[in-house]
Symmetry: C2
Subunit: 218 residues, 2 copies
DNA sequence: TACGGTACCAACAGCGTGTTGACATAGTCA
DNA sequence: TGACTATGTCAACACGCTGTTGGTACCGTA
């Protein structure tokens, strides 16, 4: 790393472990503290002072790195969402011979990713109500998933493998919202919810039935 | 409309015609003010002072009637839930010849009732995260609807009109959570959601497909 | 008339947020 | 080297909202 001879002079002489951590380290420390504390309590129950102390700085200094608690959560959510997006659409699941497999893989990918960051997922769902930026980020993300779902449903209908029913868009919205809500219930350990092991099978059952075997409504 | 058990606890003040409005009138005024203000803003954005002013009293006097903002919402929610419960299970929808009709009527009943009190519904969903009493009330209510759904699904399976698939309980949980989430999205005018006219048909489609035409999972 | 329950509020205490202004330290350039 | 600028840092303040205290006014009953 330190290629120049003048660089380690400065490093070795003065800046032993006693000197201040860098700004980047501080920012990461705040993020890590936030995710850690969110495992136990909601964001509104966590004060900025706690976040700051956890990162080894004072409350006013917190404002140097983030404009608010919510901004911290927004950063965390951004990371998790990017991870989920990458996981769910990485190998561009093709509708080959098997009808079930690609749907199962996509649902599983979301489930696994959000389960790994359940604290962030639950906190974000709550913050959505009060914070316009979180709401907007989540809306954008949901919208993109809904559109992919709608396109996949429409493709199946066009291929003749799925019959028509309610508009593909509405069905896609309902199914994606169901996934969001069921996963949230499981992660937040709500009453009523279901065992983690049952989540993917149950959701998949509902998706496949309503896409491939819609009933004719009166 | 004191249908609820928790709402009509012993506050049997009769209306003495004084210069001041009676306690009952004040309490109702607070409830009415709350529902009115909730149409525009979330509960956390409404101060107790506003609630008090709206009811024509001072902030400390508010505490004479309710221990907190959340208690006001809890009372409102109690009323709406009682109304929905009554509407959805009033004529004890029988599974007669028609498979679709009873499910459609139940889903429609919920939709109509909550739509009439959308502000309370949306506020309650938000308060659930932070308030244990709201959470508990909603959990109890959802649990009872899930149980009724599970029993109805199981009855259809026992009669041979619906094949087996995932456990009836898990399916009932997923379907009820979907209804909750979709209605919330519509009432809160979220992006993505759907037109109000499409809600019942879309939800019904998913319910009937997954109950009567479950696919065989791998 | 006086007593107790109901209804009411001014004022206070406490907590959390967001801001200000001053100060420290490290790198840069004259 | 010494002055300038960036980046960090924080004690102390202003503010808004919540929940409480301690006291007042009204009214039905005995």
């Amino acid at each position: 790393m330190s290629l120049s001879p003048t660089a380690d002079k400065a490093r070795l002489t003065r800046s032993r472990r006693g000197s201040r951590p860098s700004g980047d380290e501080r920012e990461l420390a705040i993020l890590a503290t936030a995710e850690r504390l969110l495992a136990d309590r909601s964001l509104s129950e966590i004060s900025i002072d706690e976040l700051a102390r956890g990162a080894g700085i004072s409350r006013p200094t917190f404002y140097f790195y983030f404009p608010s608690k919510d901004a911290v959560l927004l950063t965390l959510l951004d990371q998790v969402v990017a991870e989920a997006d990458a996981a769910a659409f990485a190998p561009a699941h093709e509708m080959a011979g098997d009808q079930e497999k690609p749907w199962r893989e996509a649902i599983t990918a979301f489930f696994v990713t959000f389960r790994a960051h359940r604290a962030v997922a639950v906190a974000a769902a709550q913050a959505r109500a009060s914070n316009p930026e979180v709401r907007q980020l989540w809306a954008r993300v949901m919208e993109s998933w809904v559109q992919r779902t709608e396109e996949a449903i429409q493709a199946e209908r066009d291929r003749g493998t799925a019959p028509s029913g309610v508009p593909a868009r509405d069905l896609a919205v309902a199914l994606n919202l169901m996934n969001e809500r069921v996963m949230h219930a499981v992660f937040a350990e709500e009453q009523p919810s279901m065992r983690e092991a049952q989540v993917v099978d149950t959701l998949l059952q509902v998706w496949l039935s309503s896409i491939y075997h819609p009933v004719a409504l009166a």
